[in-house]
């Protein structure tokens, strides 16, 4: 049984309509997607009040009372060209197993929470999270008279984890409501070799003075 009994194949008006309509939908669709976007205006619910951020780092050529942070850099550490992510400063420490990376970062407040940061670092070396800060072994140190904690994390998965070993000194400073992070990451041997130099570097730090100090 057939819908059309004519045997000779030929163009049918119904097909042409269908063809034209489908092509039109396609072309109009594509063309409508080619429209350039423009500047838009709208009213939005009120956002949080603007609070000037704490200075992020020493500025150059800026009339400011803030002094730059200073430290004594170990002789064989070198600055990383172009910096690294959010770091205020980044260095590399040489080693036969590969260089270790040292970064100095400062964030406002508690930088998202100390426990969350600890678990993030533990995750980076392939360790499971802890449920309380007390569960994480931490060595007390003082950095420019501020109490600080040194965390030493070694991967149990060797080089298969993203980072083999990590040293972090975190310094929460109430004076300026900022948290400073000094971090060394790299191959276990290199980090072990530079651990004392890293601690010496951190303890040589002199923070910028704040008006309250």
């Amino acid at each position: 049984m057939t819908l059309h009994t004519k045997r000779n194949p030929r163009t049918r008006p119904g097909h042409l309509w269908l063809m034209s309509a489908t092509c039109l939908v396609f072309v109009l669709g594509v063309l409508s997607g080619c429209d350039d976007e423009s500047v838009r205006f709208y009213q939005a619910p009120k956002g949080p009040a603007y609070v000037p951020p704490a200075p992020i780092g020493p500025a150059v050529g800026q009339a400011t009372t803030e002094q730059p942070i200073t430290w004594n850099l170990p002789d064989d550490w070198r600055p990383m060209p172009g910096g690294s992510g959010m770091a205020l400063a980044s260095f590399t420490a040489p080693g036969e197993a590969g260089p270790a990376k040292v970064t100095v970062t400062v964030l406002s407040g508690q930088a998202g929470g100390i426990l969350a940061n600890i678990n993030r670092w533990r995750g980076q070396v392939g360790l499971g999270p802890v449920h309380a800060i007390e569960e994480q072994p931490m060595t007390g140190v003082r950095v420019d008279q501020s109490p600080a904690g040194l965390i030493d994390l070694t991967s149990t998965q060797g080089t298969t984890a993203g980072v083999e070993r990590m040293l972090v000194v975190l310094v929460p400073r109430q004076q300026d409501n900022r948290t400073w992070f000094f971090k060394m990451t790299g191959p276990n041997d290199t980090v072990a070799r530079h651990k004392q130099a890293f601690i010496g570097f951190v303890q040589s730090v002199s923070f910028p003075e704040t008006p309250d100090e």
């Binding site: 163009t11 049918r12 594509v30 500047v39 205006f41 992020i56 500025a59 959010m86």
Partner: protein, 399 residues
């Protein structure tokens, strides 16, 4: 008349054209897949597949050749298929399977065009106890100029990313809605920031910023996040010069590099007696409802770090439909919600940060059913076609 049309359509209906189009599609898919090594998934989708044509790299030291994009190939396939039906195929019961299969293919291609044009995917990232009344598109940024002076709302003017990145150097963006002209001096599709005092001397000396954040940090271009780096997104940055009626309002660094770490990225710009806040941020879509994260749970298989289940208990308050409800969103159990005078949206549990922050994906795709219908039609068509052939074969064997 019919003969004339048939004569015109004959070359378009050619089977050779079909084969060429399939070959072109295979090349496009191969090159588009390899391109994800260097480009983000969405950049590849837009540049290779949702485009009429593109400059395709051929692996010879940056040499590129023009090539047809996905829209062109898809469009020509539809024309080719319909022309073939008009010229060659007959509308008979015997052909019903083929017609159904081809209808399914056409619907599949049209569905992708409609998805590309009308589907949106946003993200809401929430800490426990926090609320949000907007979602963001992490694939795109916008320059927002906010006038916070009204007591009960903010007046916002946004310049889309496409205008910032495509602007010819020296040509300012001016609009009656903007309180000043914006000239993009340098655009970085992905960037990192470093303290200015610690940056290389050459970077410091060439720092174009004269105001705001740019006097404390410097942005350095970074390679764009590629499709093989799961979870990485681009953080664009721009150096922009602002001016009003020929008066220089300074050169500013705008970047949302600091936003992800909770730092303030809005910068105040004084124009006359008014202060505006400028910010480069992920593109926002404000919602008529508010979502609050009550609790986020992240369960793992015992003794491992393998995620077993993660779920978000949220409170949805939408005054437009008098709705105030608590919902648990978890894997394969999304929340569907339709505000008044708006299309429905679906909220999927997409990811998490740490133990207390959830990432919800908000999706709106008016053509989401089309691929299902199209694939069903193709499957039905193939069953009918091969069923009929089998029936015919069995009949012949019996005789």
């Amino acid at each position: 008349m019919n003969k004339q049309i048939k004569k015109i359509l004959a070359p378009v209906a050619s089977l050779r054209l079909t084969v060429v189009l399939f070959a072109l599609a295979m090349v496009l898919i191969l090159v588009g897949t390899v391109a994800q090594k260097d480009m983000g998934n969405w950049a590849v989708v837009n540049e290779y597949f949702r485009s009429l044509w593109l400059w395709m790299p051929i692996g010879l030291g940056g040499v590129r050749v023009p090539f047809v994009g996905g829209y062109t190939i898809g469009g020509l396939m539809i024309v080719n298929l319909l022309a073939a039906h008009a010229v060659r195929f007959k509308l008979t019961w015997k052909r019903a399977g083929i017609i159904l299969t081809h209808a399914g293919l056409i619907l599949l291609i049209l569905g992708e065009v409609l998805t590309g044009l009308f589907a949106v995917e946003w993200q809401i990232q929430l800490d426990e106890g926090k609320s949000a009344n907007f979602a963001v598109d992490i694939r795109e940024v916008e320059l927002a100029v906010v006038d916070p002076s009204p007591a009960d709302h903010d007046n916002v003017v946004v310049v889309p990313q496409s205008m910032l990145e495509d602007r010819a150097p020296g040509l300012p963006i001016s609009d009656p809605q903007l309180p000043f002209e914006v000239q993009v001096l340098r655009w970085m599709p992905n960037s990192a920031v470093t303290g200015l005092g610690m940056a290389e001397p050459s970077l410091r000396e060439n720092n174009p910023a004269t105001d705001g954040l740019g006097k404390m940090v410097i942005a350095v271009p970074q390679p764009r996040a590629s499709g093989v780096e799961a979870g990485r997104v681009d953080f664009p940055a721009a150096y922009i010069r602002l001016s009003r009626a020929g008066r220089d309002l300074g050169t500013w660094l705008v970047t949302q590099n600091l936003e992800r770490l909770g730092s303030e990225t809005r910068q105040p710009v004084r124009v006359g007696d008014k202060t505006y806040l400028i910010e480069l941020r992920f593109r926002r879509d404000y919602k008529p409802y508010t979502i609050t994260l009550i609790d986020f749970k992240h369960d793992k298989f015992v003794g491992t770090e393998t995620p077993k289940n993660f779920s978000s208990e949220i409170r949805l308050v939408d005054p437009t439909v008098n709705e105030d409800r608590t919902v648990l969103i978890y894997m394969n159990h999304p929340l569907r919600h339709r505000p008044l005078n708006s299309r429905g949206e679906t909220f999927y549990q997409s990811g998490y940060v740490g133990e207390t922050t959830t990432i919800l994906q908000v999706v709106r795709n008016p053509s989401w059913l089309m691929p299902y219908i199209a694939c069903s039609l193709v499957a039905l068509g193939l069953i009918v076609h091969f069923g009929a052939m089998l029936w015919k074969f069995v009949g012949r064997t019996r005789r």
